[in-house]
């Protein structure tokens, strides 16, 4: 664990004691460092141990501590990756939704720099109301998971403290950059099932759910960006595909009509975009990144810095 990580933890501990005890952050860092780096103790245990030491010194009970309850890890939204963990968070209420059941007092979206996460607050927990747009320190919330999506639940033991500072909310989108090295099958002019709520892509005029149907045309590209270190599969929807290739759905349909073949559309697109460099941004869905924003990288590239490095090795 690095010095700066340790310092973050030390500052949090310092914060917990700030009302009751004058302690020195450097001293906390030293103690954590000994436990973590010399004795290979996990950071959560190290924190517990250090907190206990100070509690003993001050003759305090754990209950008197500000923050953390001593045991929970302070996590960010993006770190939530397992159900049934007790955590503390510093978040802004992004949205409040209408609860669908009486058992639920409040439901909505919380966010921090790393993204957003759904929260549920039970009626029987008898907690104060959260307000949209305000930031809070939440202690003792429990993580939950449903179909791969995580949420947090506020409960009877949760404490809610309104913060003076505003926690900024980032989005969940990711960015990828690289050369477009492949356009996968199912790209170009495609047909989708017209049945309500079914948008499956037809294979030879058949929907895997509804059989033979009169499909509706759509444009899509399933592409692969590759930066030489890793690959990212990206889906461009109709709008993004038109921006990327300059071919609109109407033009695509005309091209296919003229050629009596829909595959000419993907072939034409391939000529326009394969091998070029792009940067895309958007949320992920399964293994795909859904392109919301995209730009072709054409600007001049600076060789100076890397040339200096190359000469110096």
């Amino acid at each position: 664990m690095t010095e700066s990580d340790l310092r973050t933890h030390a500052e949090e501990i310092h914060e917990q004691f700030s009302d009751q005890l004058e302690i020195d952050v450097d001293d906390v860092v030293d103690r954590l460092d000994t436990l973590v780096n010399d004795y290979q103790v996990p950071i959560s245990e190290a924190r517990r141990s250090v907190v206990n030491t100070y509690l003993d010194e001050a003759g305090m009970d754990r209950d008197q501590l500000g923050g953390g309850g001593g045991g929970n890890e302070q996590v960010q939204v993006a770190d939530v990756d397992a159900p049934e963990e007790w955590v503390d968070m510093r978040v802004t209420v992004v949205e409040l939704w209408d609860p669908r059941a009486d058992a639920v007092a409040q439901v909505g979206l919380l966010g921090d720099e790393t993204g957003t996460i759904k929260f549920t607050k039970w009626s029987k927990s008898d907690l104060p109301s959260l307000e949209e747009g305000k930031s809070y320190a939440l202690r003792n919330v429990v993580t939950d998971e449903y179909q791969g999506r995580f949420s947090v639940k506020l409960n009877r033991t949760t404490t809610i403290e309104e913060l003076d500072e505003e926690i900024e909310v980032g989005d969940d989108s990711v960015e990828a950059e690289g050369a477009l090295v492949d356009i996968q099958s199912g790209s170009g002019l495609i047909k989708r099932c017209p049945e309500e709520d079914c948008t499956r892509v037809l294979q030879n005029g058949r929907c895997s759910e509804h059989g033979e149907v009169e499909g509706e045309f759509d444009l899509r590209i399933k592409g692969v960006l590759d930066d030489g270190e890793e690959v990212t599969e990206v889906i461009f929807d109709e709008e993004a595909t038109e921006k990327l290739t300059g071919i609109s759905l109407e033009e695509g349909k005309e091209m296919a009509m003229d050629a009596l073949d829909t595959t000419v559309v993907a072939d034409e697109m391939r000529q326009k975009i394969m091998g070029r460099y792009y940067r895309v941004r958007g949320p992920t869905f399964g293994r795909y990144l859904l392109a919301d924003e995209q730009e072709r990288l054409t600007g001049p590239v600076d060789a100076d810095e890397i040339l200096i490095k190359a000469r110096s090795i």
Partner: protein, 204 residues
């Protein structure tokens, strides 16, 4: 990150290093297991991405079309590629393109032994597309960066340490007569030629 473990990354490598990458291997005994060439700077490559100048195309097939393409990098070193009936898209691109042209090539490294016992390394293209100079320039800088990273890792590696990266150890073993210094020179040469071009363009 939305990456599939199954799709192989396309490595960036200049022609001089690529043509030296004569050692191939598989990671398992499975017939369908991917074949890798070992880059002399100590990284395996099952796919490459190359942007350069297509200088010559020729149908070298006897019974059926078999197209050879020569793509030159900024150092004047040549990538060779071959596309036949099993690579119809790439073959038709080589048939139709008029050299000289900037092309981007995605493909698999292939090796074959000549009657003289030399091992030649070439690319079996999955796709070839015509691109512009900006794309070529970006590839040159990117390839310089990636190559330099590999050289740095190679230089920092302690070959006596049993935990040393296995591909670096393999490169040391298989290519003991080659020096990574050659590839550092490729990097410097490629970047210098890029700067010269840019200086000429702005002087015009």
């Amino acid at each position: 990150m939305a990456s599939t473990p199954t799709r192989e990354v396309a490595r960036r490598v200049f022609a001089r290093e690529f043509n030296d990458a004569s050692y191939t291997f598989k990671e398992s005994d499975d017939d369908r297991a991917p074949v890798y060439v070992l880059l002399p700077t100590g990284q395996r490559a099952n796919r490459v991405f190359v942007v350069g100048t297509l200088t010559e195309t020729e149908d070298v097939g006897e019974d059926s079309e078999y197209w050879q393409g020569r793509v030159v990098d900024p150092n004047g070193d040549t990538f060779f590629m071959y596309a036949g009936q099993y690579q119809p898209d790439a073959a038709s691109m080589l048939r139709e393109l008029e050299p000289p042209a900037y092309v981007a090539v995605v493909g698999k490294p292939r090796t074959y032994e000549t009657d003289e016992g030399d091992v030649n390394v070439s690319i079996r293209p999955e796709s070839i597309s015509e691109v512009d100079e900006a794309t070529r320039d970006r590839w040159v800088v990117e390839t310089a960066e990636r190559t330099l990273d590999r050289i740095q890792r190679y230089a920092d590696a302690d070959l006596d340490d049993p935990a040393v990266d296995e591909y670096i150890a393999m490169a040391d073993e298989e290519y003991d007569q080659l020096s990574v210094e050659n590839y550092r020179q490729s990097v410097v040469g490629a970047l210098e030629s890029l700067q010269d071009e840019q200086a000429e363009t702005s002087a015009d």
